[in-house]
Amino acid sequence: MRTRLINTAPAYPGHIPLNSFENAFLAVGSAVMSLLDPYRADLIAALGETTAGPALPRLRDIMLASPEGRQILKDRPRINTKTVDINALGQLPEGTWGRTYKTWLERTGVTPDSREPVHYVDDPELAYVMQRYRECHDFYHSICNFSVNVESELAIKYFEFANLGLPLAAISAIGGPLRLNAKKRRTLFSEYVPWALKYGSTSQCLITVYWEKRWEQNVEDLRTELRIRDSPAKWSKKSMATVASAEVANSADSASS
């Protein structure tokens, strides 16, 4: 297999080939460091890539088995502010998936530009699958209606593990709660995790969803199609205020244009 060949030429821009010792070392190192500092997104990314193993070919096969997934593999769409017109999403009618996503971006203050590119996966197609997973992570938050605080992130990690089977999701799910206080941990394990595991395992595999083609679809219809219902997430009053002021700004924009 591939371990017999020592190929140090990069297979795609940004590729950093590693041998098995380097891979293992980086996996352990990034696991330890991301536990100590969960805001190091680049280390969490490295952990995900070094521990992916057979999960990525499995996801690629799942994509190949569905027509929508095949289209994604053919087009290889990327998600960042250059490819997605965020302002246009804000003009869509209330209740559409695009509008819901835009509202979610405003409430959480997240931008789709912050995703680290993939470096440590050797096969270019599997590297794209990993990249697609990373860029769609926010969509999973939004479609499940979760915020970005720590317990919501962990709930989404449990959901992702049940839905996609990535080892990174399992590692975060086990290591993450160690950093929570008792009250948040109680919310996580009594409400969020049972929901996440139940709906994660029964809903459609989200890696096959071509989100960019569904902006105009009604979000509740989309949720029913994907079999995601009854999200237990709670949003803080501060984030609701952000939504209210953003909506005023949106209507002012559309009134003046």
Partner: protein
Amino acid sequence: MSLSLTNLRRCLARNKTFTRCISSSSSSNPQNKTTSFGFQTIPENAKESMVKNVFDSVASKYDLMNDAMSMGVHRLWKDQFVGDLKPGRRGPMKCIDVAGGTGDIALRILDFARENYADRETSVEVVDINDQMLKEGYRRFKKTMYHNTSQISFHEANAQSLPVEKFLDNSYDLYTIAFGIRNVTSIPAVLEEAYRVLKPGATFACLEFNRVDNPILGTSV
């Protein structure tokens, strides 16, 4: 000499129609379309018969010829090729091995599936344009456990136009062509047929020689 090479490259770059070719007479005459045959350039409609002549004469000694020309290394290439594909990993597959003549790849596919996944349902249909090569393949398979089973079958057909009644649309999980695509007259036609017979999401695998970057290994003898 260099002028004709440039023309050849430009001709080969246009897939279906050649507007400017080596001879200076009218360009719509099919006699003037050329294609490559090893290191020669020959008229397109002559390629099929020239290839047939070559394979008719070497069929009985084809494997010996391969061993001699590559010093046995072709076995490693074919092992690696089939090993990367991992036939049988996700269940029994229906495979078609085109230009498969003596059945090297077919045998490796069946053995891999059997040894690694205990799979005796995977089937391979060996397709070749040359009946002598198919006879040789049939003879070799008599020495294996797949003879007289539904796992192996031999068909004489042209890879550029596989008969629609026998090779149905969207019916194969794996299409392999090893050291065969250089022998066809029109590669796009072969790819069209491969696209037709493969299921959506299935695998197309081509093993072929290419330029080698290492300067010592890359010099052609």
